[in-house]
Amino acid sequence: MAMLDIKNLSTEFVTDDGIVQAVRDVSIQVEKGEILGIVGESGSGKSQTMYTVMGLLASNGRVSEGEITIDGKDISPKNYSKKEYDKIMSDIRGNEMAMIFQDPMTFLNPVLKIETQLIEPILNHNDISKKEAIERAIELMRRVGIPSPEQRIKQYPFQFSGGMRQRIIIAMALACNPKVIIADEPTTALDVTIQAQVLDLIANLKNEIDSSIIMITHDLGVVASICDRIAIMYGGKIVETGTAREIFYNPKHPYTKGLLSCIANPEDREKKELHPIPGSPPDLLNIGNWCPFVDRCENAMKVCKKSMPEKTEFSNTHSCMCWLMHPLAKEGNGE
């Protein structure tokens, strides 16, 4: 059974201009001990999907549909009253599910010592003394590779560099041995050499703790190096999912193909021409119920602007939502 199971999730935001459908009918499962990468451009709904799962939506956001279960336990917002939901989620957040954010400086409280911030989740979710909690915090800091943790735990966030702060956030996420860790662009704010350190740490931790990790990112290089499975999001929908190898070596959706042909691979000896995707991503405000990629797609057919494509499965792991994969399209029948 999947560790985290999201079924038909839709999230929308009420704004002055109308309703923004940020997440549209998203279903995805995360198995125990795997790293799932969610890839998409800004505004594709990748972060909002996970914010919905964590129950961290902005006040104008609402879940219009969908079921979410973690380790068999139902945490769908619409199945509970607001009060019940908040209570359930405060038990789960930080304990069974934890999140690593993009910008470590805004996440840490600048006026509290690392110690205070790091033992908070431990004390909240476990029945242990403060002294034991501090010991555990020091152990966590050592595990994420912070040198001399006994001294450094007494310091404030500004005394740490960007990479070290991100390690502290990771330590905080690990504090209660969560079943699912959601990492939202964990290395985007870091330099490449520090990014390599942090990715290395995440890959090593995965072997140690056997939590499931969800990596939200726009960087295909990052996904290729550490993810087992990848979901590509576009216009609030998951357009293709598959193992890393299936996505990179056998992409099916025109958007996935487009993404792969517009990035430069430094390993190539010959200079390869980049093929950008024309146009720009769709506006999710009052978006129509048809394929979101239709306006930028080279192979768009009439049907693409009429209805939402159905899911086509190529293997147990690989599936894609595109009318081109429909049996009728293959016969050259463009209707």
Binding site: E41, D200, A224, S225, F248, G258, N265, P266
Partner: protein, 324 residues
């Protein structure tokens, strides 16, 4: 060989920080003596981590910052002390594309006014009609519609705004364009659009680029030669393909090995050199070679004196490992 369009000779840019009543003043050595040459029609990529001085170098070249020491030659003429009409000519020849397409366009001017402004200042066209014709031509060149001329920047997406910025840069037919992280604020699918546009313009107009970025895969894609900076110093310069596949300086080697490769089989089998520790502070850089505190191959000599950028095969490297 042709005369370089840009030549830096021992460029230093220092900033004073702190100070005040009875307080010690500190000096940040943002750029500490770098020399390089860029030839006509060439793209020179400048890479390095944040704080290595790559943007400061770019800004010193377009005279946003005053160099502390060293010379900047544009078409053979030192521009560090120029004034008046010479300065005006220099500003026509050297232009800049900025990182943030939201902050670098005036929201209260129309696209036409933005692109026309440099033409007005430099009086390169006589009549309004000529100017407008040129603006329309430029809009078309960068892939926008000529009737966008009366619109305001907020009506455009990030990628389109960057195109407007590029059109403004080209208004004066520059010889050298300093591109300071021109694509890092854009989405992946839009980045390739802008890179292809820059390449197309170069092919048509024969201008040179100084391309500053931290995204090494894109720098390698667009550049003919690459310079690697670390803590205000150039540690290696070489042909981009050659440098990537056979880095000589230990820092270049580590930096390139940390680049994530968008290919799962290669990425998982690739040997990564994980650098220990973090970038030292540019206020108090290490003695001798600045990289020695993180260098896996550091020797005793490295802490005593600073290695010079020297020719090794057809490469320039600043490292004692390559001394005879």
């Amino acid at each position: 060989m042709a005369e370089p369009i840009l030549k830096l000779d021992g460029l230093k840019v220092y900033f004073n920080i702190g100070g005040g009543f009875r307080r010690k003043k500190d000096i940040v050595k943002a750029v500490d003596g770098i020399s390089l040459e860029i030839f006509p029609g060439e793209t020179f990529g400048l890479v390095g981590e944040s704080g290595c001085g790559k943007s400061t170098t770019g800004r010193a070249i377009v005279k946003i910052y005053e160099p502390t020491d060293g010379k900047i030659y544009v078409s053979g003429k030192d521009i560090t002390k120029i004034k008046g009409s010479e300065l005006k000519q220099f500003k026509q020849d050297v232009q800049m594309i900025f990182q943030d397409p939201y902050a670098s366009l005036n929201p209260r001017m129309t696209v036409g006014e933005i692109i026309k402004e440099p033409m007005d200042i430099h009086k390169i066209y006589q009549t309004e009609k000529e100017k407008e014709a040129r603006v329309r031509e430029l809009l078309e060149l960068v892939g926008l519609k000529p009737d966008h001329i009366r619109r305001y920047p907020h009506e455009f997406s990030g990628g389109q705004r960057q195109r407007i910025g590029i059109a403004r840069t080209l208004a004066l037919n520059p010889k050298l364009v300093v591109c300071d992280e021109p694509i890092s604020a854009l989405d992946v699918s839009i980045q390739a659009q802008v890179i292809n546009l820059l390449e197309k313009i170069q092919a048509e107009m024969g201008i040179s680029y100084l391309f500053i970025a931290h995204d090494l895969s894109m720098v390698k894609h667009i550049s003919d030669r690459i310079g690697v900076m670390y803590l205000g110093n150039l540690v290696e310069i070489g042909d981009s393909d050659d440098l990537y596949h056979n880095p000589l300086h230990p820092y270049t080697e580590a930096l390139l090995s940390s680049v994530p490769i968008p290919d799962p089989d290669v990425a998982k089998s690739k040997e990564r050199i994980i650098l220990q520790g973090e970038l030292p502070s540019p206020i108090d850089p290490p003695s001798g070679c600045v990289f020695r505190t993180r260098c896996p191959k550091a020797m005793e000599k490295c802490s005593q004196c600073k290695p010079e950028l020297k020719k090794v095969k057809d490469r320039m490297v600043a490292c004692f490992l390559y001394d005879e």
